[in-house]
Subunit: 188 residues, 2 copies
């Protein structure tokens, strides 16, 4: 099952902020939609009206057993009605990252960057889903999707700020940060 | 770049043996071709005349730094003129495998199954390329492609036999084993 993020003129999520953080940005669009499909054609052809990014939820790559159990126990799923805010952060890591071995990546990921441990305190407030797209030949390696309540907006800023400070993030060579909010039903 | 293995009526490789090892087999075809493309449509639609499997070469997942250097120093590339024989072994691992964490998979992969260490003695005689297809939503998780000389046919049998004995292989729930030889140019 493929998940398709589409930036265009309409969609269930209204764009509040659209920022190129590193490398080439995407064309800003007023809306974002998230759909799922069993079939796709790759590569995604450029569109006049916006852009599309495709990923697949995948198995975990870096967490160890105790961490996995901890995460599963604490994390929230997507689609909570009260989570009116969301963020899509597509990232691409450098060739140097992918040249590393799994153990070296894990060391940077957790031992040095404390990615998992530091993320725990943002759970379950911030729901998170990682989609892989490197093997799909897209422009990004990962699409990260977060959902949270208005009351947790500054907590989310803290999470993003913390991630960008890590050693792991030094391997990010392209990053776009798209903040969205649910369209009010009466406004559609 | 996607690599496409196509089983059909003609192709650069003639099928010598086509065996379903575990789970559902593929429809046997007389020939196999290997092509590359930047674009594909997923899922692959069923074809009257044969089957297609698509994968992407990907970064290494389990080897550690010393092993990686050892492998790179010793391994042979694909396309050696003298390598007239090849094998395509598509495999799918069970849900139980993918539920494991990376460290647990690595333990089974190397510490218990000695996959890397045991494979070293088959290098450079057997050239090997692993293609990933789990994230492409296909029927298999990996497509493994081997190329070797006629003189190393029994060495290759030994390699395959060794792999199937490992603990890692107990997680394989579907496997097809397709042995091919290069079509003689004067026969085309």
């Amino acid at each position: 099952m493929f998940t398709i993020f589409r930036g265009s003129q309409s969609g269930a999520w209204r764009v509040k902020r659209f920022a190129g953080v590193k490398g080439e940005s995407l064309a800003p669009t007023p809306s974002l939609s998230v759909t799922h499909s069993d079939s796709i054609a790759l590569p995604i052809l450029p569109s006049q009206s916006g852009w599309r990014l495709i990923g697949v939820p995948s198995h975990v790559r870096y967490v160890e057993r105790a961490e996995k159990e901890q995460l599963v126990a604490v994390q929230a799923g997507l689609g909570r009605a009260e989570a009116k805010l969301a963020a899509l952060i597509p990232i691409k890591k450098s060739a140097a990252w992918w040249e590393l071995t799994q153990e070296e990546r894990r060391k940077i990921f957790e031992d040095k960057s404390h990615h998992i441990a530091s993320s725990m305190r943002f759970l379950p407030a911030i729901a998170r889903q990682l989609y892989h797209c490197r093997d799909l030949g897209g422009a990004f390696d990962f699409l990260t999707w977060f959902e949270y309540r208005l009351a947790h907006e500054s907590l989310f800023e803290e999470l993003v700020g913390m991630l960008r400070e890590t050693e792991e993030w030094q391997y990010v060579e392209r990053e776009v940060d798209i903040r969205v909010e649910r369209e009010r039903l009466d406004a559609i």
